[in-house]
Amino acid sequence: MSVHQTINLDTLQEIVERHGYNKNKLIAILQDIQAVYHYLPAEALKTLSKLLKIPLIDIISVATFYRAFSLTPKGRHVATVCMGTACHVRGAPKILEEFERQLNLRRGETTEDGEWSLETVACLGCCAIGPVVVVDGDYHAHTSIRKVPTILGKYRK
């Protein structure tokens, strides 16, 4: 898995084709683009607007509305700390601080080597196993400050 730097037009064309050039499937298409590049490159969105024949601003509106989409490059690993009420009372802010300290970055930022991104989320809906931390789609239940290095170690080479 490597972060693409240049935009491959064929990849984009193929994604749009798979959705049948359907304007209504914009969100699904954006998700697929994000799956390839880990973010939504400006060039890709401009091309997409021409392929789908929808104004660029409408695509931008959708892409900025949802937290799932990012217009800035994301790290290779994305750590998401749940800050919902249940996780919050069980110490999520402390865990977030520990992540910030360990990765040496602030929430919403990406490390300079492009390895890690740190995000927060309002609630993941699995309050029973809180505090929850999601790294690259893996859920880590009942996290504590002590478990943070172990979690990070799993993804560090």
Partner: protein, 227 residues
């Protein structure tokens, strides 16, 4: 023809009219801000709120987006409506206190205090410029971005858009771009100067009869007339 009741009066609306259009047709004044005849109704400013229904089931709706219905009972000036409108003006004032249009609305509706933190964002997100650009100018260069308190109107990536032809339609229609009068107390949130300026004392007394010898400056006569 649709028959409905408006402020106790029986009115007839044509198929496809909104409540606002019906009220305008019968000369009932409903204040609007984000409404424009050449653009699709949006219902963002909530100034055109009216009360529909009767008794405990009465509710507030924006008249610019509510279609005229058979047998609908509308009140355009109840206490609840006026209070809601004044609250909306107060909120908009806190976001864009330098807007002339909003200051004038505040004066007109007697909004004399502002209990919210001044944010000076100079945009009330009424969407007029977005609709102007898309519908009248066929530009689609600007639009809403982000969500919640971060919502803003801008071009893609905040740089000059390729679609923008610099027609200026967005600035022409913007209610917040017009600066308020820079009167003696321009730094305070609400000017309200227009409240005391409108009927001058001289309409009632000439300069010699004014017992303050200060034609109109005391404001007593104005306040008497207002109440």
């Amino acid at each position: 023809m649709i028959t409905m009741k408006m402020n106790g009066m029986e009115v007839k609306a044509e198929e496809g009219w909104t409540v606002l259009e019906t009220a305008k047709f019968y000369g009932l004044e409903i204040p609007t801000l984000c409404h424009h005849e050449g653009l699709t109704p949006y219902g963002a400013c909530r100034l055109c709120l009216v009360e529909i229904g009767e008794g405990p089931k009465a509710r507030l709706v924006s008249s610019c987006t509510y279609p005229a219905e058979e047998g609908l009972v509308v009140h355009t000036d109840t206490r609840r409506v006026v209070q809601a409108r004044r609250m909306m003006i107060e909120l908009m004032l806190s976001v864009a206190p330098n807007s002339r249009v909003i200051q004038d609305l505040a004066s007109k509706f007697g909004v004399t205090r502002m209990r919210f933190k001044i944010r000076n964002e100079e945009c009330i997100l009424c969407g007029l410029c977005v609709r102007m650009c898309a519908e009248q100018m066929d530009g689609k260069a600007i639009g809403f971005q982000n969500r919640g308190y971060q919502r803003k109107i801008s071009t893609p990536f905040d740089i000059r858009s390729e679609e923008c032809r610099l027609c200026g339609g967005c600035m022409y229609i913007c209610p917040a771009c017009q600066l308020r009068c820079q009167g003696p107390q321009a730094e305070t949130a609400i000017c309200n100067a227009c409240l005391t300026m409108d009927p001058t004392c001289l309409d009632f007394y000439d300069e010699l009869q004014c017992w303050m010898y200060d034609a109109g400056r005391c404001g007593t006569c104005v306040r008497e007339k207002k109440s």
